[in-house]
Symmetry: C2
Amino acid sequence: MADTVTISVDAMGGDHGPAVTVAGSAAALQRSPDLRFRFFGDQAVIGPALAAHAELARVSDVQHCDIAVDMAEKPSQALRRGRWKSGMWRTIEAVKKGEADIAVSAGNTGALMAMSRLCLRTMPGIDRPALAGIWPTLTGECIVLDLGASIGATASELVDYAILGGAMARALLLKDRPKVGLLNIGVEEVKGLEEVRDASKLLREANPPHLEYVGFIEGDDLGKGVVDVAVTEGFAGNIALKTAEGTARQIAEYLRQEMSRTLPARLGYLLARGAFATLREKLDPNRVNGAIMLGLNGIVIKSHGGAKVDGFCSALLRGHAMVKNGLVAKIRQDHAYMHPDAGTGADRADAVGAV
Amino acid sequence: MADTVTISVDAMGGDHGPAVTVAGSAAALQRSPDLRFRFFGDQAVIGPALAAHAELARVSDVQHCDIAVDMAEKPSQALRRGRWKSGMWRTIEAVKKGEADIAVSAGNTGALMAMSRLCLRTMPGIDRPALAGIWPTLTGECIVLDLGASIGATASELVDYAILGGAMARALLLKDRPKVGLLNIGVEEVKGLEEVRDASKLLREANPPHLEYVGFIEGDDLGKGVVDVAVTEGFAGNIALKTAEGTARQIAEYLRQEMSRTLPARLGYLLARGAFATLREKLDPNRVNGAIMLGLNGIVIKSHGGAKVDGFCSALLRGHAMVKNGLVAKIRQDHAYMHPDAGTGADRADAVGAV
């Protein structure tokens, strides 16, 4: 890796296209001047958007693509129409070709996952990639995965997620030995939890050097900050994420209603508006925008389709940090420890050494 | 059913035992004077607790049981030690014997589920019972099930949950034709969603007369009030519930921190304290205390182990309402429509008639 970090950007992706993707890149460049960009999409739209950002234009190149994946397309349709030639595909392919360090798209999630798997393939020894998100907690942030790349997970896949999430926590949250928990439910002796219990045993036995396995956690532990990484299968993970977002909006709406109902409440709101502004910022989904596809031969970030400039910028900056901190190497190292025979080119002894 | 509603109460269950279960019953009796109680547990503790509530004592009887299920016991241990003779078992058994209309316990969840299944058995045609909870929404309340009675669910089990939840919404939320949605994730074409998709087809085809199937919903729809009943398998359901509770506590903590950080914020808080009190009430878990085991030959309510007097009272009043509104008959009716051959003693034509 050079001293610069190159991000390939699916410029047409998301609800707003270049209005957000290009402007978000300009904002990210201001924060991290070592960024370089490759935009993929319609030159006729990207060009003018880029013209408004001279600094960004200087460190970017634009690759014209005729085909853009539609937000409503099914992954199979998107693949038929857009494999090899769509802006989304070529954004991912830039990582495969070594022309970019990381790919970012705000486009169709299903299509992005399908294309990423097909183009980048899973790392040796990893069966399925996972979608990891950043979860705000009372003490900072934690990483939750899988958020819906797959449904259900075997014990060994849950262990892979722990490794992937642990490496991400090292690269992004800068924890030397992140605390990892397995999401479980509090009811003992219910059939169907064997995978989760077996994964727990595997993690305890392996005792990987770069993560601290802390055992089972429940849904209400996520926001407390008791772990740096929470591991679960994708159906429950996706529902947990959406439920937390919905609950936050619901409470914000209760609060809005109550603070405008009476004159004293309205006055109180005015006096405390600084506090409410901070609260709003804490609950702003833009702050934690960006789900990361882990377990492929390259990193792809999915920005929320509706993200604004701030949110897209935040996803780019997370990507920048993960590249700078050697996320891919950290994943390889941790994975090699757990699977010394998986042909990752490192053995367990190597893997214990710091990257 | 007589004009009175008799509730059997596992008096020793929960973190506080009779201090909460007896006092909560006294509070419920004040609200619903047609209630009658059967307490099961240690006479030496229940007696004095009851002595403080003369009205309640007049409409209650106490059945002494030597054995109390411990909150930390595994279900299998609890069954070995407490089948037939523990207070928990006998509380459930009172429903089976027709000595009570409904059973309420704040005791060990796993043990309560195991004993309820064994004692009451599932209704004809229902494979597995479900645990249903009441979820506060922006427009009122909805019912979510399964919250962890089982892990995973076939399409036909999800349809059963829809029927059970629909009947509960009719009896408790007083909706003539409750809106029912299937909890799903927003990613198309992911393997493992077949059950949810198949359940959707089954519900559309059956078009049950007493519920309106509205299709898929996501986690962030739960709090919006777009459905009266949200159906999912137990692992995701339990995690969604706990995650929502955790998120609510997290935001309350953010709010507490922010409102005490500066002088203007503290003054604002004082002015708006009425609004904050209303908000606190809306977020009070006591208000929606009580998960309901559905699908057995009799209804069992699980109160939260840590519930205070208000919370236990709320669970009792929910039970009272469900008995008054003929929950069991409504379940039989809806179920008979979906499974005319299941031997519930009613055929589809009968089932369409109002209960």
